[in-house]
């Protein structure tokens, strides 16, 4: 499995990782090795196997009743936030 330089940059972008030029050679070398290792799985014969969505597939998701069980605790939660104003979490400006 080979990866181009653009593949590596694209994966880094999707993962929001800032890659320095110095890190590129190492990643370009090790990422394909990891993929090749995992690729062994594709040797398994799966044509007749029903895909599973979960290790406990066959059991059903438990459901809860539609009741409000939570009370406001934003002041506590916001103690972890870097910046808060008017009860809003502030983050560096993002606008699409």
């Amino acid at each position: 499995m080979s990866l181009t330089r653009d593949d590596v940059l694209d994966i880094a972008r999707l993962a929001r990782l800032a890659i320095t030029p110095a890190e590129m050679p190492g990643l370009s070398d090790s990422l394909p090795k990891i993929l090749t290792f995992v690729e062994q799985l594709s040797a398994a014969q799966t044509a007749d196997v029903e895909p599973m969505a979960h290790p406990l597939d066959g059991q059903s998701q438990r459901l809860r009743s539609d009741t409000v069980s939570e009370t406001d605790a934003h002041e506590r939660y916001q103690q972890n936030a870097a910046r808060v104003e008017a009860s809003l979490y502030l983050v560096p400006k993002v606008i699409e």
């Binding site: 597939d57 059903s60 998701q61 502030l90 993002v94």
Partner: protein, 485 residues
Amino acid sequence: MNMEWETVIGLEIHAQLATRSKIFSGSATAYGAEPNTQANLVDLGYPGVLPVLNREVVRMAVKFGLAVGATVAKRSVFARKNYFYPDLPKGYQISQYELPIVQLGKLEIVLDDGARKTVGITRAHLEEDAGKSLHENFQGYSGIDLNRAGTPLLEIVSEPDMRSAKEAVAYMKRIHTLVRYLEICDGNMQEGSFRCDANVSVRQKGQEKLGTRCEIKNLNSFRFIEKAINHEVARQIDVIEGGGKIRQETRLYDPDKDETRPLRSKEEANDYRYFPDPDLLPVIIEQSFIDQVRATLPELPDQKAARFVEQHGLSPYDAGTLSASREVGDYYEAVVAALGAAHAKLAANWVMGDLSASLNNDGLEISGSRIGAAGLAALLARIVDETISGKIAKEVFEAMWADGQSADAIIEARGLKQITDAGAIEKVIDEVIAANPKQLADYRAGRDKLFGFFVGQVMKVSGGKANPAQVNDLLKKKLQGQGSL
């Protein structure tokens, strides 16, 4: 080169489900709360917490599926849709991908010319809404309110079956009506409970292959969706006729400028890397649950309209208008119940006419009407028993709307009772004829059109209160020289 173009539209409608609590947590979903007061650790994406699915959300999705004749999946699977944005704290949205809960339904829409068309519904899947980002007021920062994060959404995806902006609007209105009938969504577009993305492409007439599509986001009114699609179609035709190619991209509609513009460039095309969410087991739905939900289905808009035609003798158009919203249908039916089915057409005309106009003027929903169904029925009863004419009834209606008094009180206080005493009407007619000798002579010389003039004069002199049918009868006789003059 003058080519004929065909527009192809598919819609993705997001309906917030009207539950009390969120799809995966016990936080409240009420609109308009103080920021972040309705976001708990699950909604905030803290480590070590697990989502637990709300039963009501499943029930509502099944209800929708049954109403559009779809297959309700006995096994559906939640998946993670991965992307980064500050109003999505987990870094992924829990959605459904390969195995949605509702598959392959359809819905019939009625177009302006009365033609009917069936639109395919590819799927409807459950997912969580994201939070809200506020970009103003914070120098260099965006404010994040996560109250909306985790609000249950049903995303309803249509086939690319619509061929014009008008068809798209008709379909969206139909879904809007349906989710409100089913009481699974409040349909409030201003609050974002019901919104839509449109996939739009054009192709040459007769060509089978679909053109490259663009997705328009941010459509939260019926008017905007029509304008946005029309704008986008014109843009795409311009590009192609100018020798260019359409790029598949997401575009945003700006209602202020009435244009669409690209939201993301192609270089940043999204790659959501869906995979089954290991925090949630597949949802297994038993047939008994589906049967239970089916038993709770209300009368649907089409069924109601058909009943109005059959039981009340309404035209299909009137029946369609009155069944378009459950509340309007209920109001109309209450009026008919009080007035008698024989007068259904009268009730229909008033609900669609004066009542609807007054509601529009004051920006009210029918639930907030200043005149209740009983009040309107009492007014119409006075037309039926000939206490007042239809014209006077409009005056009474306006007074009722303004000050909330009953029809009878207003008729009494203003002396609006219709004059049905033939002697009194004759007296007025005699006065009018005596005052207009020239018109009388012309009429008798053959100018039949003057009849209307005399009717108008008599009604004017009587303050609109003379019974119109009697006026017609008596006036005809008198003008022809019969009876005393």
